[in-house]
Symmetry: C2
Subunit: 340 residues, 2 copies
């Protein structure tokens, strides 16, 4: 076991070899590497040339021992939801011209796994952490923030001090959805929410939904069902709603791919979308636009969220301590699934 590892390590160029090649000290090379103070242009050029010639790449582990690893950790709840692809695009754009690299981990939407992933990112000396759709408590997040610069996406905590948050206005997004449905003539509007560890964005969306219903004088029709992200569970919940005594004429779903599944269930039950039941999703992912779905959805500009999160975490790495809470307004994109 050690054998294979040892054999492979050979051939790796070290900072010492670069220093020898350039005829300077190790410290000088390190300075060039870090863009540190006290290097002349001539020396910099000489060192750069040697690095290129030898194909030198600094070892992140070694750097991590005393300085930075130039690695950002990004935790996703789930790989099936294409919304996260949009966020990643934004993150990558923000990092394009920096020397930072992102490594992703999956929390599978459970606090236990999420903690494990985050801990292992801290163990791996990530310089900063971006947490998407976290279900952790304020204290847990503060604990993480004590150790590493932290930014959350999709976690509402406007009074948080130790970490930054990036969000769309989920309450308003839900409100837009309800208003749109009401305007389209629906009145028995239900919401399908997420079951499991309580998440602040779901709380916000539920709040917005309630608000919208009351505003439209439909407070009596408020009806929030919930299901985990497991297929079978969603199908069951959707059937319950659509076959129950208080059958809704519209369902606002907390995320697109759940909405697509609800469309599927409705279709199988012989219900027509949008005539018999209107459906609204959230995130406006690429699948909404497919003709067979044509799903009305709330756009929360995932790419922008990712971009901002990356910007904020790098600012924190560079020393900012004042908290920042970034909120983008959501936008409703109407499609056929609600055009009654």
């Amino acid at each position: 076991m050690a054998q294979a590892g040892e054999g492979r390590r050979n051939g790796r160029v070290t900072i010492r070899e670069v220093a020898d090649d350039a005829g300077v000290s190790v410290a000088a090379v390190s300075k060039v590497l870090r863009d540190a103070y006290g290097v002349s242009d001539a020396l910099r050029a000489k060192v750069r040339a040697s690095m290129d010639r030898l194909g030198y790449r600094p070892l992140a582990s070694a750097r991590g021992m005393r300085g930075q690893t130039y690695t950002l950790g990004l935790v996703l709840p789930d790989l099936r939801n294409p919304f996260f692809a949009d966020i990643m695009t934004g993150v990558n754009n923000a990092l394009e011209r920096t020397q930072y690299q992102v490594m992703m981990g999956i929390s599978a939407s459970t606090a236990k796994l999420e903690t494990g992933v985050v801990d292992s990112m801290i163990d791996r000396q990530m310089d900063g952490i971006i947490l998407i759709g976290s279900t952790e408590s304020r204290e847990s997040l503060n604990t993480i923030a004590e150790k590493k610069p932290l930014v959350t996406i999709g976690h509402h905590d406007p009074s948080a001090e130790a970490f930054d948050t990036v969000n769309n206005n989920d309450q308003q997004g839900a409100l837009l959805a309800v208003r749109h449905l009401v305007a389209a003539g629906y009145s028995k509007i239900a919401m399908l929410s997420l079951q499991g560890e309580p998440s602040s964005i779901l709380a916000e969306r539920e709040q917005g939904y309630r608000h919208g219903m009351v505003e439209a004088g439909l407070g009596g029709a408020i009806n929030i069902a919930s299901a985990t992200q497991v297929m079978r569970d969603v199908q069951f919940a959707a059937k319950r709603l659509l076959q129950g005594p208080r059958r809704p004429d519209a369902i606002f779903c907390w995320t697109d791919f759940i909405a697509l599944e609800v469309i599927s269930v409705a279709t199988e039950l012989g219900l027509r979308v949008p005539e018999d039941v209107g459906i609204v999703g959230y995130d406006n992912t690429m699948f909404c636009d497919f003709a067979q779905n044509s799903l009305t959805s709330i756009d929360q500009s995932g790419e922008l969220l990712g971009l901002q999160a990356a910007r904020l975490v790098i600012e924190r790495i560079n020393g900012r301590t004042a908290v920042e809470h970034f909120v983008v307004p959501p936008r409703l994109v109407a499609r056929r699934s609600t055009s009654r």
Copy 2:
């Protein structure tokens, strides 16, 4: 900048503190950590207790300097394709009871970015690398394999010696698709393939498609179009096919989400699926099952592929050098999109 980093590092428990707490040497603690030879049960228990009491976690960077980091790198081409979620499930299952952790990177399906991601994983001392849907050349892969244990998923190279491969039989998968379409009464069967850097799995699928067409006496109708993964591009290619002079009555698409897009385009053009045009996808991702899609697809057991890849890379880390090529047979799942 250093300030923030320094302030945060404080409080981290080191192996020395554990050793002091347990009243043993640092080396002894390290041995316990690595399950190395020469520790009595009593010592092990004592050390474990101290580790728990102090909340000790070994620092990956420091471990990486001499030994392993217990981190596996996994490179995905794309975050939008839900197929990769299946693979990840398998990988995670395989790693459940080990101390390995996976970190993911995205190659965006370009060799340049892929090289960058892989290099940065090597810099970060990942113990092994799993590459999904790689478009790199044999030499590049060999170069990587020289440095780290490497396993590819979705890359055919049965004569590779330096790294393991895990695949489904793509040629057979395509063959199944064509045979199924022929049996359902389609004859002008086109294939929509992937444009860009040549990929061996696409080559295999095209080969299988050709083979199937010839076998059915339809050699003259062979028609392979291609498009990148960009939405607009796919739509354009689909329209070209469906509005062209040799309009096919069925299209075999290289992956599900492309097929869903083709269904969308066909629908918008007023064509009925499956009556006017039959559609087959590949990967049998969760979206195929939705009633509005009901997409016939080829299942390649993503979860199994992920599981095997993780197993193989760990075996290599543990010293195996003999090459292994794992191939799983694909399975056609018929749905409404081809039931003429």
